[in-house]
Amino acid sequence: MTSRGTPSRFLRSVLQNGLGRYVCQLKRVSIVFSKKAQSSLGVRDFIEEGVVDYAKKNPGTVVYVSPQPSNIPKIVAEYLNGNVREELVTNKTSSQISDLLTKLTNQSGLDVIRLRKPFHTDSPSIQGQWHPFTNRPPAIGPIKAPQRDAQ
Protein backbone atom coordinates (compact mmCIF):
# COMPACT_ATOMS: atom_id res chain seq x y z
CA MET A 1 0.00 0.00 0.00
CA THR A 2 2.73 2.41 -1.04
CA SER A 3 1.91 5.73 -2.62
CA ARG A 4 3.72 4.75 -5.83
CA GLY A 5 2.28 1.26 -5.85
CA THR A 6 -1.34 2.31 -5.57
CA PRO A 7 -3.09 4.64 -8.02
CA SER A 8 -3.82 8.22 -7.02
CA ARG A 9 -5.49 11.20 -8.64
CA PHE A 10 -6.00 14.91 -8.18
CA LEU A 11 -9.23 16.40 -6.94
CA ARG A 12 -11.47 17.50 -9.76
CA SER A 13 -15.08 17.88 -10.68
CA VAL A 14 -16.59 16.35 -13.79
CA LEU A 15 -16.74 19.23 -16.31
CA GLN A 16 -17.39 21.82 -13.52
CA ASN A 17 -20.69 20.12 -12.73
CA GLY A 18 -22.27 22.35 -10.11
CA LEU A 19 -21.27 25.62 -11.71
CA GLY A 20 -24.23 25.94 -14.04
CA ARG A 21 -26.77 23.18 -13.94
CA TYR A 22 -26.14 20.10 -11.78
CA VAL A 23 -26.29 16.87 -13.76
CA CYS A 24 -26.56 13.67 -11.75
CA GLN A 25 -23.61 11.52 -12.76
CA LEU A 26 -25.36 8.24 -12.09
CA LYS A 27 -26.49 6.78 -15.40
CA ARG A 28 -27.93 3.40 -14.53
CA VAL A 29 -28.69 1.42 -11.37
CA SER A 30 -29.28 -2.32 -11.67
CA ILE A 31 -30.54 -4.14 -8.59
CA VAL A 32 -29.74 -7.85 -8.86
CA PHE A 33 -31.46 -9.98 -6.25
CA SER A 34 -33.19 -13.32 -5.84
CA LYS A 35 -36.87 -13.84 -5.27
CA LYS A 36 -36.60 -16.39 -2.51
CA ALA A 37 -33.20 -16.27 -0.77
CA GLN A 38 -32.96 -14.93 2.78
CA SER A 39 -30.04 -12.64 2.01
CA SER A 40 -32.13 -10.50 -0.36
CA LEU A 41 -34.88 -9.89 2.19
CA GLY A 42 -33.90 -6.24 2.66
CA VAL A 43 -33.62 -5.75 -1.08
CA ARG A 44 -37.11 -7.14 -1.62
CA ASP A 45 -38.49 -4.82 1.08
CA PHE A 46 -36.75 -1.89 -0.55
CA ILE A 47 -38.20 -2.81 -3.93
CA GLU A 48 -41.67 -2.99 -2.41
CA GLU A 49 -41.44 0.40 -0.71
CA GLY A 50 -38.61 2.64 -1.85
CA VAL A 51 -37.60 1.95 -5.43
CA VAL A 52 -40.44 3.81 -7.14
CA ASP A 53 -39.92 6.92 -4.99
CA TYR A 54 -36.20 6.80 -5.70
CA ALA A 55 -36.77 6.48 -9.43
CA LYS A 56 -39.21 9.41 -9.42
CA LYS A 57 -36.83 11.59 -7.41
CA ASN A 58 -33.95 10.91 -9.83
CA PRO A 59 -35.44 11.28 -13.30
CA GLY A 60 -32.01 11.21 -14.95
CA THR A 61 -31.13 7.75 -13.62
CA VAL A 62 -32.50 4.53 -15.09
CA VAL A 63 -33.36 1.87 -12.50
CA TYR A 64 -33.34 -1.77 -13.56
CA VAL A 65 -34.74 -4.39 -11.20
CA SER A 66 -33.67 -7.90 -12.20
CA PRO A 67 -34.65 -10.88 -10.08
CA GLN A 68 -32.20 -13.68 -10.79
CA PRO A 69 -31.39 -16.89 -8.96
CA SER A 70 -28.29 -15.54 -7.21
CA ASN A 71 -26.83 -16.04 -3.76
CA ILE A 72 -25.49 -12.53 -3.39
CA PRO A 73 -27.73 -9.53 -4.05
CA LYS A 74 -25.88 -6.65 -5.67
CA ILE A 75 -26.42 -3.07 -6.73
CA VAL A 76 -24.51 -2.19 -9.90
CA ALA A 77 -24.16 1.55 -10.50
CA GLU A 78 -22.90 2.86 -13.85
CA TYR A 79 -21.76 6.44 -14.21
CA LEU A 80 -21.59 8.85 -17.11
CA ASN A 81 -17.83 8.56 -17.43
CA GLY A 82 -18.07 4.78 -17.80
CA ASN A 83 -17.04 3.66 -14.33
CA VAL A 84 -19.01 0.76 -12.87
CA ARG A 85 -19.38 0.27 -9.12
CA GLU A 86 -20.76 -2.92 -7.62
CA GLU A 87 -21.93 -2.96 -4.04
CA LEU A 88 -22.98 -6.11 -2.22
CA VAL A 89 -26.16 -5.74 -0.19
CA THR A 90 -26.45 -9.14 1.49
CA ASN A 91 -28.38 -9.00 4.76
CA LYS A 92 -28.96 -5.27 4.66
CA THR A 93 -32.16 -3.59 5.74
CA SER A 94 -34.28 -1.46 3.44
CA SER A 95 -33.18 1.81 5.05
CA GLN A 96 -29.50 0.85 4.72
CA ILE A 97 -30.04 0.15 1.04
CA SER A 98 -31.74 3.51 0.50
CA ASP A 99 -28.82 5.25 2.28
CA LEU A 100 -26.43 3.37 0.01
CA LEU A 101 -28.37 4.47 -3.03
CA THR A 102 -28.28 8.14 -1.97
CA LYS A 103 -24.53 7.79 -1.47
CA LEU A 104 -24.12 6.35 -4.98
CA THR A 105 -26.32 9.10 -6.42
CA ASN A 106 -24.27 11.86 -4.85
CA GLN A 107 -20.96 10.44 -6.09
CA SER A 108 -19.43 11.53 -9.34
CA GLY A 109 -18.12 8.58 -11.28
CA LEU A 110 -14.45 9.33 -10.54
CA ASP A 111 -12.34 6.56 -9.00
CA VAL A 112 -12.31 6.14 -5.25
CA ILE A 113 -8.54 6.27 -4.83
CA ARG A 114 -6.11 8.44 -2.90
CA LEU A 115 -6.47 12.16 -3.50
CA ARG A 116 -3.09 13.84 -3.72
CA LYS A 117 -4.34 17.22 -2.52
CA PRO A 118 -7.66 18.08 -0.89
CA PHE A 119 -7.94 21.24 -3.00
CA HIS A 120 -7.68 22.30 -6.64
CA THR A 121 -7.60 25.63 -8.48
CA ASP A 122 -7.46 26.42 -12.14
CA SER A 123 -5.94 29.82 -11.38
CA PRO A 124 -3.48 29.40 -8.51
CA SER A 125 -1.70 32.72 -8.99
CA ILE A 126 -3.44 36.11 -9.13
CA GLN A 127 -0.45 38.44 -8.86
CA GLY A 128 1.68 36.40 -11.23
CA GLN A 129 3.78 33.42 -10.23
CA TRP A 130 7.23 34.11 -8.84
CA HIS A 131 10.14 33.93 -11.27
CA PRO A 132 13.75 34.95 -10.59
CA PHE A 133 13.21 38.46 -11.94
CA THR A 134 10.07 39.38 -9.94
CA ASN A 135 11.84 41.07 -7.07
CA ARG A 136 14.86 42.38 -8.97
CA PRO A 137 14.97 46.01 -10.09
CA PRO A 138 15.41 46.30 -13.84
CA ALA A 139 19.01 47.00 -14.92
CA ILE A 140 18.15 49.26 -17.85
CA GLY A 141 15.67 52.02 -17.06
CA PRO A 142 12.33 52.67 -18.74
CA ILE A 143 12.25 53.57 -22.41
CA LYS A 144 12.58 57.36 -22.75
CA ALA A 145 11.67 59.57 -25.67
CA PRO A 146 14.65 60.12 -28.05
CA GLN A 147 16.69 63.22 -27.05
CA ARG A 148 16.46 66.21 -29.34
CA ASP A 149 20.16 67.22 -28.93
CA ALA A 150 20.89 66.35 -32.52
CA GLN A 151 18.69 69.23 -33.70
Partner: protein, 149 residues
Protein backbone atom coordinates in the same frame (compact mmCIF):
# COMPACT_ATOMS: atom_id res chain seq x y z
CA UNK B 1 -0.72 -57.79 -10.79
CA UNK B 2 -2.37 -54.62 -9.60
CA UNK B 3 -0.23 -51.61 -8.68
CA UNK B 4 -1.84 -49.92 -5.71
CA UNK B 5 0.95 -47.79 -4.21
CA UNK B 6 1.29 -45.40 -7.18
CA UNK B 7 -2.00 -43.65 -6.52
CA UNK B 8 -1.10 -43.29 -2.82
CA UNK B 9 1.93 -41.18 -3.78
CA UNK B 10 -0.14 -38.43 -5.47
CA UNK B 11 -0.67 -35.54 -3.08
CA UNK B 12 -3.35 -32.92 -3.39
CA UNK B 13 -1.69 -29.56 -2.60
CA UNK B 14 -3.50 -26.32 -1.85
CA UNK B 15 -5.54 -24.97 -4.76
CA UNK B 16 -4.97 -21.24 -4.14
CA UNK B 17 -1.23 -20.80 -4.56
CA UNK B 18 -1.53 -18.69 -7.73
CA UNK B 19 -3.79 -16.10 -6.09
CA UNK B 20 -1.77 -15.92 -2.88
CA UNK B 21 1.36 -15.28 -4.95
CA UNK B 22 -0.36 -12.67 -7.10
CA UNK B 23 -1.53 -10.82 -3.99
CA UNK B 24 2.12 -10.17 -3.14
CA UNK B 25 3.39 -9.67 -6.68
CA UNK B 26 0.78 -7.02 -7.51
CA UNK B 27 2.47 -4.70 -5.00
CA UNK B 28 5.87 -5.37 -6.58
CA UNK B 29 5.07 -4.76 -10.24
CA UNK B 30 6.85 -1.41 -10.39
CA UNK B 31 10.09 -2.68 -8.81
CA UNK B 32 13.40 -3.07 -10.60
CA UNK B 33 14.97 -6.34 -11.71
CA UNK B 34 13.88 -9.80 -10.66
CA UNK B 35 12.10 -8.46 -7.60
CA UNK B 36 9.06 -7.69 -9.75
CA UNK B 37 8.80 -11.27 -11.08
CA UNK B 38 10.20 -13.78 -8.60
CA UNK B 39 8.14 -14.47 -5.52
CA UNK B 40 10.95 -15.10 -3.02
CA UNK B 41 12.67 -11.84 -3.86
CA UNK B 42 9.37 -9.97 -4.13
CA UNK B 43 8.18 -10.96 -0.66
CA UNK B 44 11.22 -9.39 0.98
CA UNK B 45 11.05 -6.30 -1.22
CA UNK B 46 7.32 -5.75 -0.63
CA UNK B 47 7.69 -6.10 3.12
CA UNK B 48 10.50 -3.53 3.07
CA UNK B 49 8.43 -1.19 0.91
CA UNK B 50 5.49 -1.35 3.35
CA UNK B 51 7.76 -0.71 6.32
CA UNK B 52 9.25 2.32 4.57
CA UNK B 53 5.75 3.56 3.71
CA UNK B 54 4.67 3.34 7.36
CA UNK B 55 7.76 5.15 8.59
CA UNK B 56 7.49 7.78 5.88
CA UNK B 57 4.11 9.03 7.08
CA UNK B 58 5.82 10.84 9.95
CA UNK B 59 8.83 11.84 7.85
CA UNK B 60 6.61 13.40 5.17
CA UNK B 61 5.21 15.90 7.66
CA UNK B 62 8.71 16.82 8.81
CA UNK B 63 10.09 17.11 5.27
CA UNK B 64 7.20 19.24 4.04
CA UNK B 65 7.67 21.63 6.96
CA UNK B 66 11.40 22.02 6.29
CA UNK B 67 10.64 22.61 2.62
CA UNK B 68 8.17 25.36 3.49
CA UNK B 69 10.68 26.94 5.87
CA UNK B 70 13.41 26.87 3.21
CA UNK B 71 11.10 28.54 0.70
CA UNK B 72 9.96 31.23 3.15
CA UNK B 73 13.57 31.91 4.15
CA UNK B 74 14.63 32.33 0.52
CA UNK B 75 11.70 34.67 -0.16
CA UNK B 76 12.39 36.84 2.89
CA UNK B 77 16.07 37.08 2.05
CA UNK B 78 15.07 38.55 -1.30
CA UNK B 79 13.41 41.34 0.67
CA UNK B 80 16.37 41.92 2.97
CA UNK B 81 15.14 40.11 6.09
CA UNK B 82 15.79 36.74 7.67
CA UNK B 83 13.38 33.90 8.38
CA UNK B 84 13.48 33.97 12.23
CA UNK B 85 12.88 37.72 12.24
CA UNK B 86 9.93 37.37 9.87
CA UNK B 87 8.20 34.60 11.83
CA UNK B 88 8.77 36.22 15.21
CA UNK B 89 7.45 39.57 14.11
CA UNK B 90 4.47 38.08 12.30
CA UNK B 91 3.42 36.26 15.48
CA UNK B 92 3.90 39.47 17.45
CA UNK B 93 1.53 41.29 15.10
CA UNK B 94 -0.90 38.35 15.55
CA UNK B 95 -0.75 37.31 11.88
CA UNK B 96 -1.52 33.65 12.34
CA UNK B 97 -0.50 32.35 8.90
CA UNK B 98 1.18 28.98 8.99
CA UNK B 99 4.28 28.05 7.04
CA UNK B 100 2.37 26.21 4.34
CA UNK B 101 0.24 29.25 3.49
CA UNK B 102 3.24 31.59 3.68
CA UNK B 103 5.25 29.48 1.25
CA UNK B 104 2.28 29.32 -1.16
CA UNK B 105 1.93 33.11 -0.96
CA UNK B 106 5.64 33.54 -1.60
CA UNK B 107 5.30 31.48 -4.78
CA UNK B 108 1.96 32.56 -6.23
CA UNK B 109 1.40 35.99 -4.62
CA UNK B 110 4.79 37.75 -4.44
CA UNK B 111 3.39 41.22 -3.76
CA UNK B 112 1.33 40.00 -0.80
CA UNK B 113 4.44 38.38 0.58
CA UNK B 114 6.33 41.65 0.14
CA UNK B 115 3.67 43.46 2.16
CA UNK B 116 3.92 40.83 4.91
CA UNK B 117 7.70 41.26 4.97
CA UNK B 118 7.29 45.04 5.27
CA UNK B 119 4.80 44.56 8.11
CA UNK B 120 7.26 42.33 9.94
CA UNK B 121 10.09 44.81 9.40
CA UNK B 122 7.97 47.69 10.76
CA UNK B 123 7.12 45.69 13.84
CA UNK B 124 10.80 44.84 14.24
CA UNK B 125 11.74 48.53 14.14
CA UNK B 126 9.10 49.30 16.75
CA UNK B 127 10.53 46.58 18.92
CA UNK B 128 14.01 48.05 18.60
CA UNK B 129 12.72 51.52 19.46
CA UNK B 130 10.87 50.23 22.49
CA UNK B 131 13.92 48.32 23.69
CA UNK B 132 16.63 50.90 22.98
CA UNK B 133 14.65 54.09 23.51
CA UNK B 134 13.92 55.56 26.91
CA UNK B 135 10.15 55.08 27.14
CA UNK B 136 9.32 58.71 26.39
CA UNK B 137 8.03 57.81 22.93
CA UNK B 138 4.54 56.26 22.74
CA UNK B 139 4.42 52.52 21.89
CA UNK B 140 4.13 51.76 18.20
CA UNK B 141 0.92 51.20 16.23
CA UNK B 142 1.67 47.57 15.44
CA UNK B 143 2.64 46.71 19.01
CA UNK B 144 -0.93 47.01 20.24
CA UNK B 145 -2.14 43.65 21.50
CA UNK B 146 -5.67 42.86 20.26
CA UNK B 147 -7.86 40.80 22.61
CA UNK B 148 -10.16 38.84 20.32
CA UNK B 149 -12.60 37.50 22.95
Amino acid sequence: MVFLTLSCWIRSRGPDRYWKVQEVLKHARHFKGRRNRCYTLAVKAVRRAFVYATKARKLKKRNMRTLWITRIAAATREHGMKYPALMHNLTKTSVQLNRRVLSDLAITEPRTFLSLAKLARARQQEGFRAALGDGSEPPGVLSRVVMLQ
